[in-house]
Subunit: 254 residues, 2 copies
Protein backbone atom coordinates (compact mmCIF):
# COMPACT_ATOMS: atom_id res chain seq x y z
CA UNK A 1 0.00 0.00 0.00
CA UNK A 2 1.20 3.47 -0.84
CA UNK A 3 1.86 5.98 1.92
CA UNK A 4 0.83 9.54 1.04
CA UNK A 5 1.40 12.56 3.28
CA UNK A 6 -1.69 14.78 3.63
CA UNK A 7 -0.50 17.47 6.02
CA UNK A 8 2.63 18.58 7.81
CA UNK A 9 3.38 20.79 10.79
CA UNK A 10 6.42 21.54 12.92
CA UNK A 11 5.59 21.36 16.66
CA UNK A 12 7.09 23.92 19.05
CA UNK A 13 9.79 21.48 20.19
CA UNK A 14 10.90 20.93 16.60
CA UNK A 15 9.17 17.58 16.16
CA UNK A 16 7.82 17.17 12.61
CA UNK A 17 4.25 15.85 12.61
CA UNK A 18 2.94 14.49 9.33
CA UNK A 19 -0.50 13.02 8.76
CA UNK A 20 -0.67 10.38 6.07
CA UNK A 21 -2.91 7.85 4.47
CA UNK A 22 -1.82 4.30 3.81
CA UNK A 23 -4.34 3.19 1.22
CA UNK A 24 -7.54 4.12 3.04
CA UNK A 25 -5.99 4.07 6.53
CA UNK A 26 -5.23 7.40 8.24
CA UNK A 27 -2.05 7.67 10.28
CA UNK A 28 0.41 10.10 11.83
CA UNK A 29 4.20 10.10 11.75
CA UNK A 30 6.34 12.10 14.16
CA UNK A 31 10.05 12.53 13.56
CA UNK A 32 12.55 14.15 15.90
CA UNK A 33 13.88 17.63 15.22
CA UNK A 34 17.33 16.37 14.34
CA UNK A 35 16.15 13.96 11.65
CA UNK A 36 16.93 15.26 8.16
CA UNK A 37 13.99 16.34 6.04
CA UNK A 38 12.85 13.88 3.40
CA UNK A 39 14.73 14.49 0.21
CA UNK A 40 17.14 12.97 -2.26
CA UNK A 41 20.13 12.79 0.13
CA UNK A 42 20.03 9.63 2.28
CA UNK A 43 19.80 10.29 6.05
CA UNK A 44 23.15 9.58 7.70
CA UNK A 45 21.72 8.11 10.93
CA UNK A 46 18.15 6.86 10.53
CA UNK A 47 15.95 7.18 13.62
CA UNK A 48 14.69 3.99 15.26
CA UNK A 49 10.91 3.70 15.02
CA UNK A 50 8.34 3.09 17.74
CA UNK A 51 4.87 2.05 16.59
CA UNK A 52 2.37 3.70 18.93
CA UNK A 53 -0.45 1.30 19.64
CA UNK A 54 -3.71 2.78 20.96
CA UNK A 55 -7.13 1.67 22.11
CA UNK A 56 -9.89 1.58 19.45
CA UNK A 57 -11.24 5.02 20.37
CA UNK A 58 -10.16 6.89 17.25
CA UNK A 59 -7.03 8.90 16.48
CA UNK A 60 -8.71 12.27 17.07
CA UNK A 61 -9.79 11.33 20.57
CA UNK A 62 -6.41 9.77 21.38
CA UNK A 63 -4.36 12.58 19.79
CA UNK A 64 -3.37 14.44 23.01
CA UNK A 65 -1.96 11.30 24.61
CA UNK A 66 -0.34 10.12 21.36
CA UNK A 67 1.45 13.39 20.70
CA UNK A 68 2.71 13.47 24.29
CA UNK A 69 4.21 9.99 23.81
CA UNK A 70 5.61 11.04 20.42
CA UNK A 71 7.35 14.11 21.90
CA UNK A 72 8.80 12.02 24.73
CA UNK A 73 10.18 9.50 22.23
CA UNK A 74 11.46 12.22 19.90
CA UNK A 75 13.51 13.64 22.78
CA UNK A 76 15.31 10.28 22.78
CA UNK A 77 15.85 10.47 19.02
CA UNK A 78 13.05 8.07 18.07
CA UNK A 79 10.49 8.43 15.29
CA UNK A 80 6.95 7.32 16.17
CA UNK A 81 3.94 6.45 14.07
CA UNK A 82 0.39 5.33 14.57
CA UNK A 83 -2.46 4.26 12.31
CA UNK A 84 -6.22 4.26 12.83
CA UNK A 85 -7.53 0.84 13.89
CA UNK A 86 -10.10 -0.84 11.61
CA UNK A 87 -13.61 0.24 12.55
CA UNK A 88 -12.38 3.24 14.58
CA UNK A 89 -12.30 7.01 14.07
CA UNK A 90 -13.01 8.08 10.49
CA UNK A 91 -12.70 4.56 9.08
CA UNK A 92 -15.85 2.68 7.97
CA UNK A 93 -17.90 1.20 10.79
CA UNK A 94 -17.41 -2.49 11.43
CA UNK A 95 -20.70 -4.06 12.46
CA UNK A 96 -19.35 -7.26 14.02
CA UNK A 97 -16.99 -5.42 16.33
CA UNK A 98 -19.57 -2.71 17.11
CA UNK A 99 -22.00 -5.44 18.13
CA UNK A 100 -19.42 -7.09 20.37
CA UNK A 101 -18.70 -3.73 22.03
CA UNK A 102 -22.41 -3.11 22.60
CA UNK A 103 -22.68 -6.55 24.14
CA UNK A 104 -19.65 -5.77 26.35
CA UNK A 105 -21.28 -2.56 27.60
CA UNK A 106 -24.51 -4.42 28.33
CA UNK A 107 -22.64 -7.17 30.19
CA UNK A 108 -20.55 -4.78 32.29
CA UNK A 109 -23.55 -2.57 33.13
CA UNK A 110 -25.50 -5.64 34.18
CA UNK A 111 -22.62 -6.62 36.46
CA UNK A 112 -22.23 -9.94 34.66
CA UNK A 113 -18.85 -11.61 34.05
CA UNK A 114 -17.32 -11.06 30.60
CA UNK A 115 -17.16 -14.52 29.06
CA UNK A 116 -14.41 -15.98 26.90
CA UNK A 117 -16.58 -16.01 23.77
CA UNK A 118 -17.34 -12.32 24.07
CA UNK A 119 -13.63 -11.58 24.59
CA UNK A 120 -12.85 -13.57 21.44
CA UNK A 121 -15.50 -11.67 19.46
CA UNK A 122 -14.20 -8.32 20.73
CA UNK A 123 -10.51 -8.88 20.13
CA UNK A 124 -9.69 -11.64 17.63
CA UNK A 125 -11.18 -10.00 14.49
CA UNK A 126 -9.46 -6.73 15.42
CA UNK A 127 -6.08 -8.49 15.78
CA UNK A 128 -6.56 -10.39 12.52
CA UNK A 129 -7.19 -7.19 10.55
CA UNK A 130 -4.97 -4.73 12.40
CA UNK A 131 -1.71 -6.68 12.48
CA UNK A 132 -1.27 -6.91 8.67
CA UNK A 133 -2.08 -3.19 8.51
CA UNK A 134 0.65 -2.40 11.04
CA UNK A 135 3.03 -4.54 8.98
CA UNK A 136 2.09 -2.70 5.79
CA UNK A 137 2.64 0.60 7.62
CA UNK A 138 6.04 -0.68 8.73
CA UNK A 139 7.00 -1.51 5.12
CA UNK A 140 6.06 2.00 4.01
CA UNK A 141 7.56 3.87 6.99
CA UNK A 142 10.90 2.06 6.84
CA UNK A 143 11.29 3.03 3.19
CA UNK A 144 11.17 6.74 4.12
CA UNK A 145 14.45 8.65 4.40
CA UNK A 146 15.55 9.28 7.97
CA UNK A 147 13.69 6.32 9.42
CA UNK A 148 15.18 2.91 9.96
CA UNK A 149 17.08 0.84 12.41
CA UNK A 150 15.34 -1.20 15.08
CA UNK A 151 11.56 -1.09 15.53
CA UNK A 152 9.50 -1.39 18.70
CA UNK A 153 5.78 -1.52 19.46
CA UNK A 154 4.38 0.44 22.36
CA UNK A 155 1.00 0.59 23.95
CA UNK A 156 -2.58 -0.36 23.72
CA UNK A 157 -4.60 -3.38 22.63
CA UNK A 158 -2.06 -5.78 24.11
CA UNK A 159 -3.27 -8.65 21.88
CA UNK A 160 -2.17 -6.71 18.78
CA UNK A 161 1.26 -6.29 20.38
CA UNK A 162 1.45 -10.02 21.13
CA UNK A 163 0.53 -11.08 17.57
CA UNK A 164 2.90 -8.50 16.07
CA UNK A 165 5.74 -9.71 18.31
CA UNK A 166 5.16 -13.25 17.03
CA UNK A 167 4.80 -12.57 13.29
CA UNK A 168 6.97 -9.49 12.70
CA UNK A 169 10.72 -10.19 12.75
CA UNK A 170 11.62 -6.48 12.49
CA UNK A 171 10.24 -5.89 15.98
CA UNK A 172 13.06 -6.00 18.56
CA UNK A 173 11.18 -4.95 21.71
CA UNK A 174 7.68 -4.17 22.91
CA UNK A 175 6.25 -2.06 25.70
CA UNK A 176 2.76 -3.33 26.38
CA UNK A 177 -0.15 -2.01 28.42
CA UNK A 178 -2.08 -4.78 30.17
CA UNK A 179 -5.33 -2.90 29.94
CA UNK A 180 -7.64 -4.87 27.69
CA UNK A 181 -9.24 -8.28 27.45
CA UNK A 182 -7.03 -11.14 26.26
CA UNK A 183 -8.47 -14.09 24.32
CA UNK A 184 -7.27 -17.58 25.24
CA UNK A 185 -5.71 -17.98 21.80
CA UNK A 186 -3.54 -14.90 22.39
CA UNK A 187 -2.47 -16.27 25.78
CA UNK A 188 -1.20 -19.34 23.91
CA UNK A 189 0.55 -17.22 21.26
CA UNK A 190 2.32 -15.30 24.03
CA UNK A 191 4.50 -18.36 24.68
CA UNK A 192 6.09 -17.82 21.25
CA UNK A 193 7.13 -14.24 22.03
CA UNK A 194 10.88 -14.01 22.65
CA UNK A 195 11.72 -10.30 22.32
CA UNK A 196 12.34 -8.16 25.43
CA UNK A 197 9.10 -6.90 26.97
CA UNK A 198 8.14 -4.14 29.37
CA UNK A 199 4.55 -4.65 30.54
CA UNK A 200 2.63 -1.97 32.41
CA UNK A 201 -0.26 -3.03 34.61
CA UNK A 202 -2.58 -0.70 36.52
CA UNK A 203 -3.09 -2.78 39.66
CA UNK A 204 -6.63 -1.56 40.37
CA UNK A 205 -7.68 -1.13 36.74
CA UNK A 206 -11.47 -0.98 36.86
CA UNK A 207 -11.87 -2.28 33.31
CA UNK A 208 -9.25 -5.02 33.32
CA UNK A 209 -8.84 -8.45 34.87
CA UNK A 210 -5.65 -8.43 36.96
CA UNK A 211 -5.28 -12.20 37.07
CA UNK A 212 -5.58 -12.43 33.26
CA UNK A 213 -2.81 -9.84 32.95
CA UNK A 214 -0.57 -11.78 35.36
CA UNK A 215 -1.27 -15.01 33.45
CA UNK A 216 -0.35 -13.30 30.18
CA UNK A 217 2.89 -11.94 31.64
CA UNK A 218 3.71 -15.41 32.93
CA UNK A 219 3.08 -16.94 29.51
CA UNK A 220 5.51 -14.77 27.53
CA UNK A 221 8.52 -16.79 26.38
CA UNK A 222 10.92 -13.83 26.55
CA UNK A 223 14.11 -14.19 28.59
CA UNK A 224 13.91 -10.50 29.44
CA UNK A 225 10.46 -9.43 30.53
CA UNK A 226 9.53 -6.88 33.18
CA UNK A 227 6.12 -6.32 34.70
CA UNK A 228 5.60 -2.94 36.30
CA UNK A 229 2.40 -2.61 38.31
CA UNK A 230 1.29 0.78 39.60
CA UNK A 231 -1.69 2.26 41.38
CA UNK A 232 -4.13 4.72 39.89
CA UNK A 233 -6.87 3.11 37.77
CA UNK A 234 -7.05 2.46 34.03
CA UNK A 235 -5.97 5.92 32.83
CA UNK A 236 -3.90 6.82 35.91
CA UNK A 237 -0.49 5.55 34.81
CA UNK A 238 1.97 7.63 36.89
CA UNK A 239 4.48 9.86 35.11
CA UNK A 240 7.47 7.89 36.41
CA UNK A 241 6.06 4.76 34.72
CA UNK A 242 6.33 6.55 31.39
CA UNK A 243 9.94 7.43 32.22
CA UNK A 244 10.72 3.80 33.07
CA UNK A 245 9.17 2.67 29.77
CA UNK A 246 11.26 5.26 27.92
CA UNK A 247 14.40 3.83 29.52
CA UNK A 248 13.35 0.35 28.34
CA UNK A 249 13.14 1.61 24.75
CA UNK A 250 16.50 3.41 25.05
CA UNK A 251 18.10 0.15 26.23
CA UNK A 252 16.79 -1.80 23.26
CA UNK A 253 16.66 0.70 20.38
CA UNK A 254 20.04 2.40 20.78
CA UNK B 1 22.68 2.31 72.70
CA UNK B 2 26.01 3.98 71.96
CA UNK B 3 27.46 3.87 68.48
CA UNK B 4 31.23 3.41 68.43
CA UNK B 5 33.33 3.42 65.26
CA UNK B 6 35.84 0.56 65.13
CA UNK B 7 37.50 1.07 61.74
CA UNK B 8 37.49 3.51 58.87
CA UNK B 9 38.61 3.37 55.25
CA UNK B 10 38.20 5.58 52.20
CA UNK B 11 37.10 3.54 49.14
CA UNK B 12 38.56 4.35 45.74
CA UNK B 13 35.48 6.35 44.69
CA UNK B 14 35.84 8.55 47.78
CA UNK B 15 33.07 6.84 49.78
CA UNK B 16 33.93 6.71 53.49
CA UNK B 17 33.26 3.25 54.96
CA UNK B 18 33.16 3.01 58.74
CA UNK B 19 32.51 -0.14 60.72
CA UNK B 20 30.82 0.42 64.05
CA UNK B 21 29.27 -1.34 66.97
CA UNK B 22 25.92 -0.33 68.40
CA UNK B 23 26.05 -1.92 71.84
CA UNK B 24 26.96 -5.49 70.82
CA UNK B 25 25.62 -5.17 67.25
CA UNK B 26 28.15 -4.79 64.41
CA UNK B 27 27.29 -2.45 61.56
CA UNK B 28 28.71 -0.49 58.65
CA UNK B 29 28.11 3.11 57.62
CA UNK B 30 28.93 4.47 54.17
CA UNK B 31 28.89 8.21 53.50
CA UNK B 32 29.34 9.88 50.10
CA UNK B 33 32.61 11.58 49.21
CA UNK B 34 31.09 15.04 49.41
CA UNK B 35 29.80 14.63 52.96
CA UNK B 36 31.91 16.62 55.43
CA UNK B 37 34.07 14.63 57.84
CA UNK B 38 32.70 14.25 61.34
CA UNK B 39 33.91 17.13 63.48
CA UNK B 40 32.77 20.13 65.47
CA UNK B 41 31.39 22.10 62.49
CA UNK B 42 27.81 21.06 61.63
CA UNK B 43 27.35 19.67 58.13
CA UNK B 44 25.64 22.24 55.90
CA UNK B 45 23.54 19.73 53.91
CA UNK B 46 23.07 16.43 55.72
CA UNK B 47 22.86 13.35 53.46
CA UNK B 48 19.58 11.42 53.38
CA UNK B 49 20.02 7.92 54.81
CA UNK B 50 19.08 4.56 53.31
CA UNK B 51 19.01 1.61 55.70
CA UNK B 52 20.30 -1.41 53.77
CA UNK B 53 18.31 -4.47 54.74
CA UNK B 54 19.86 -7.85 54.01
CA UNK B 55 19.05 -11.54 54.34
CA UNK B 56 20.19 -13.26 57.57
CA UNK B 57 23.41 -14.60 56.02
CA UNK B 58 25.90 -12.45 57.91
CA UNK B 59 27.47 -9.10 57.02
CA UNK B 60 30.77 -10.66 55.89
CA UNK B 61 29.07 -12.88 53.35
CA UNK B 62 26.80 -10.09 52.14
CA UNK B 63 29.56 -7.44 52.07
CA UNK B 64 30.22 -7.44 48.28
CA UNK B 65 26.57 -6.86 47.44
CA UNK B 66 26.11 -4.35 50.28
CA UNK B 67 29.09 -2.22 49.30
CA UNK B 68 27.93 -2.20 45.67
CA UNK B 69 24.52 -0.87 46.79
CA UNK B 70 26.26 1.65 49.10
CA UNK B 71 28.45 2.99 46.26
CA UNK B 72 25.42 3.28 43.97
CA UNK B 73 23.53 5.25 46.65
CA UNK B 74 26.56 7.41 47.47
CA UNK B 75 26.73 8.47 43.82
CA UNK B 76 23.25 9.95 44.40
CA UNK B 77 24.41 11.72 47.56
CA UNK B 78 22.89 9.23 50.01
CA UNK B 79 24.45 7.75 53.15
CA UNK B 80 23.75 4.06 53.74
CA UNK B 81 24.03 1.86 56.80
CA UNK B 82 23.43 -1.73 57.75
CA UNK B 83 23.54 -3.74 60.96
CA UNK B 84 24.01 -7.44 61.59
CA UNK B 85 20.71 -9.25 62.14
CA UNK B 86 20.21 -11.04 65.48
CA UNK B 87 21.55 -14.58 65.30
CA UNK B 88 23.58 -13.90 62.12
CA UNK B 89 27.27 -13.41 61.34
CA UNK B 90 29.44 -12.83 64.43
CA UNK B 91 26.47 -12.30 66.75
CA UNK B 92 25.53 -15.02 69.30
CA UNK B 93 23.67 -17.98 67.83
CA UNK B 94 19.92 -17.99 68.31
CA UNK B 95 18.70 -21.52 68.85
CA UNK B 96 15.01 -20.96 68.13
CA UNK B 97 15.67 -19.37 64.74
CA UNK B 98 18.41 -21.89 63.88
CA UNK B 99 15.96 -24.70 64.58
CA UNK B 100 13.32 -23.11 62.36
CA UNK B 101 15.88 -22.76 59.54
CA UNK B 102 16.93 -26.40 59.91
CA UNK B 103 13.27 -27.37 59.72
CA UNK B 104 12.86 -25.20 56.60
CA UNK B 105 15.80 -26.94 54.89
CA UNK B 106 14.38 -30.35 55.79
CA UNK B 107 10.94 -29.37 54.49
CA UNK B 108 12.22 -27.94 51.21
CA UNK B 109 14.57 -30.89 50.59
CA UNK B 110 11.69 -33.28 51.23
CA UNK B 111 9.62 -31.37 48.68
CA UNK B 112 6.94 -30.62 51.27
CA UNK B 113 4.99 -27.35 51.38
CA UNK B 114 6.27 -24.75 53.85
CA UNK B 115 3.42 -24.32 56.34
CA UNK B 116 2.21 -21.11 57.94
CA UNK B 117 3.45 -22.13 61.41
CA UNK B 118 6.96 -22.70 60.14
CA UNK B 119 6.91 -19.34 58.34
CA UNK B 120 5.82 -17.69 61.60
CA UNK B 121 8.62 -19.41 63.53
CA UNK B 122 11.20 -18.40 60.91
CA UNK B 123 10.24 -14.75 60.55
CA UNK B 124 8.22 -13.33 63.47
CA UNK B 125 10.91 -13.61 66.19
CA UNK B 126 13.44 -12.08 63.79
CA UNK B 127 11.14 -9.14 63.04
CA UNK B 128 10.36 -8.63 66.74
CA UNK B 129 14.06 -8.38 67.65
CA UNK B 130 15.48 -6.74 64.53
CA UNK B 131 13.06 -3.81 64.15
CA UNK B 132 13.87 -2.17 67.53
CA UNK B 133 17.56 -2.64 66.70
CA UNK B 134 17.12 -0.84 63.36
CA UNK B 135 15.30 1.95 65.21
CA UNK B 136 18.14 2.22 67.77
CA UNK B 137 20.61 2.35 64.88
CA UNK B 138 18.52 5.11 63.32
CA UNK B 139 18.61 7.14 66.56
CA UNK B 140 22.40 6.85 66.69
CA UNK B 141 23.05 7.42 62.97
CA UNK B 142 20.84 10.49 62.69
CA UNK B 143 22.76 12.12 65.56
CA UNK B 144 26.02 11.94 63.56
CA UNK B 145 27.19 15.06 61.72
CA UNK B 146 26.55 14.98 57.97
CA UNK B 147 23.64 12.54 58.18
CA UNK B 148 20.02 13.54 58.38
CA UNK B 149 17.01 14.39 56.32
CA UNK B 150 14.63 11.75 55.06
CA UNK B 151 15.23 8.05 55.73
CA UNK B 152 14.37 5.04 53.56
CA UNK B 153 14.66 1.28 54.00
CA UNK B 154 15.91 -0.86 51.16
CA UNK B 155 16.15 -4.56 50.65
CA UNK B 156 15.96 -7.92 52.24
CA UNK B 157 13.71 -9.66 54.78
CA UNK B 158 10.60 -7.92 53.50
CA UNK B 159 8.74 -8.52 56.78
CA UNK B 160 11.28 -6.34 58.62
CA UNK B 161 10.64 -3.61 56.06
CA UNK B 162 6.89 -3.90 56.53
CA UNK B 163 7.06 -3.65 60.34
CA UNK B 164 9.54 -0.79 60.16
CA UNK B 165 7.29 1.09 57.73
CA UNK B 166 4.41 0.72 60.21
CA UNK B 167 6.20 1.66 63.44
CA UNK B 168 8.91 4.09 62.34
CA UNK B 169 7.60 7.57 61.45
CA UNK B 170 11.02 8.75 60.22
CA UNK B 171 10.79 6.33 57.26
CA UNK B 172 9.49 8.14 54.17
CA UNK B 173 9.86 5.39 51.53
CA UNK B 174 10.85 1.75 51.21
CA UNK B 175 12.29 -0.36 48.42
CA UNK B 176 11.45 -3.95 49.25
CA UNK B 177 12.57 -7.30 47.81
CA UNK B 178 9.78 -9.87 47.72
CA UNK B 179 12.18 -12.75 48.25
CA UNK B 180 11.35 -14.30 51.61
CA UNK B 181 8.45 -15.94 53.40
CA UNK B 182 5.76 -13.65 54.76
CA UNK B 183 3.77 -14.56 57.90
CA UNK B 184 0.02 -13.98 57.87
CA UNK B 185 0.37 -11.38 60.64
CA UNK B 186 2.75 -9.34 58.45
CA UNK B 187 0.30 -9.54 55.55
CA UNK B 188 -2.26 -7.93 57.86
CA UNK B 189 0.23 -5.27 59.04
CA UNK B 190 0.92 -4.37 55.40
CA UNK B 191 -2.53 -2.74 55.20
CA UNK B 192 -1.28 -0.09 57.66
CA UNK B 193 1.69 0.87 55.46
CA UNK B 194 1.10 4.22 53.75
CA UNK B 195 4.57 5.36 52.58
CA UNK B 196 5.58 5.06 48.89
CA UNK B 197 6.86 1.58 48.04
CA UNK B 198 8.94 0.07 45.25
CA UNK B 199 8.69 -3.72 45.41
CA UNK B 200 11.01 -5.99 43.41
CA UNK B 201 9.83 -9.50 42.61
CA UNK B 202 11.85 -12.15 40.82
CA UNK B 203 9.07 -13.80 38.83
CA UNK B 204 10.61 -17.29 38.84
CA UNK B 205 12.24 -17.05 42.26
CA UNK B 206 12.99 -20.65 43.21
CA UNK B 207 12.84 -19.94 46.94
CA UNK B 208 9.83 -17.67 47.04
CA UNK B 209 6.08 -18.01 46.66
CA UNK B 210 4.95 -15.70 43.84
CA UNK B 211 1.31 -15.62 44.88
CA UNK B 212 2.26 -14.67 48.47
CA UNK B 213 4.33 -11.80 47.09
CA UNK B 214 1.42 -10.60 44.91
CA UNK B 215 -0.95 -10.84 47.89
CA UNK B 216 1.46 -8.80 49.99
CA UNK B 217 1.77 -6.13 47.29
CA UNK B 218 -2.01 -5.99 47.03
CA UNK B 219 -2.34 -5.59 50.81
CA UNK B 220 -0.13 -2.51 51.15
CA UNK B 221 -2.18 0.57 52.00
CA UNK B 222 0.14 2.98 50.16
CA UNK B 223 -1.33 5.29 47.52
CA UNK B 224 1.96 5.07 45.60
CA UNK B 225 3.20 1.53 45.27
CA UNK B 226 5.01 -0.05 42.33
CA UNK B 227 5.64 -3.73 41.75
CA UNK B 228 8.46 -4.52 39.37
CA UNK B 229 8.72 -8.17 38.39
CA UNK B 230 11.73 -9.43 36.43
CA UNK B 231 13.11 -12.74 35.23
CA UNK B 232 16.27 -14.36 36.48
CA UNK B 233 15.82 -16.36 39.70
CA UNK B 234 16.31 -15.35 43.33
CA UNK B 235 19.75 -13.71 42.96
CA UNK B 236 19.37 -12.72 39.30
CA UNK B 237 17.91 -9.23 39.69
CA UNK B 238 18.87 -7.43 36.43
CA UNK B 239 21.05 -4.34 36.58
CA UNK B 240 18.32 -2.08 35.17
CA UNK B 241 16.10 -3.06 38.13
CA UNK B 242 18.72 -1.60 40.47
CA UNK B 243 18.71 1.58 38.37
CA UNK B 244 14.91 1.81 38.58
CA UNK B 245 15.05 1.35 42.37
CA UNK B 246 17.69 4.11 42.57
CA UNK B 247 15.34 6.45 40.70
CA UNK B 248 12.59 5.62 43.19
CA UNK B 249 14.86 6.66 46.07
CA UNK B 250 15.90 9.84 44.26
CA UNK B 251 12.24 10.77 43.80
CA UNK B 252 11.48 10.39 47.49
CA UNK B 253 14.68 11.38 49.31
CA UNK B 254 15.62 14.54 47.42
Amino acid sequence: MALRFTSEQRLDDGVLEREFTLGEIPGILWTPASTPEPGPAPAPAPAPLILLGQPPLGLRKMYPRLVARARHAAADGFATATIELPGSGDRPRWDAVDQARAELRRTVEAGEPVGAELVDALVLPLVARAVPEWQAALDALLSLPGIGGPVAYSGGVISIGVRLAVVEPRLVAAGLFAGSFVPRAILEEARQVTIPLHVLLQWDDEVNDRQAALDLFDAFGSAEKTLQANMGGHTGVPEFAGDDAARFFRRHLK
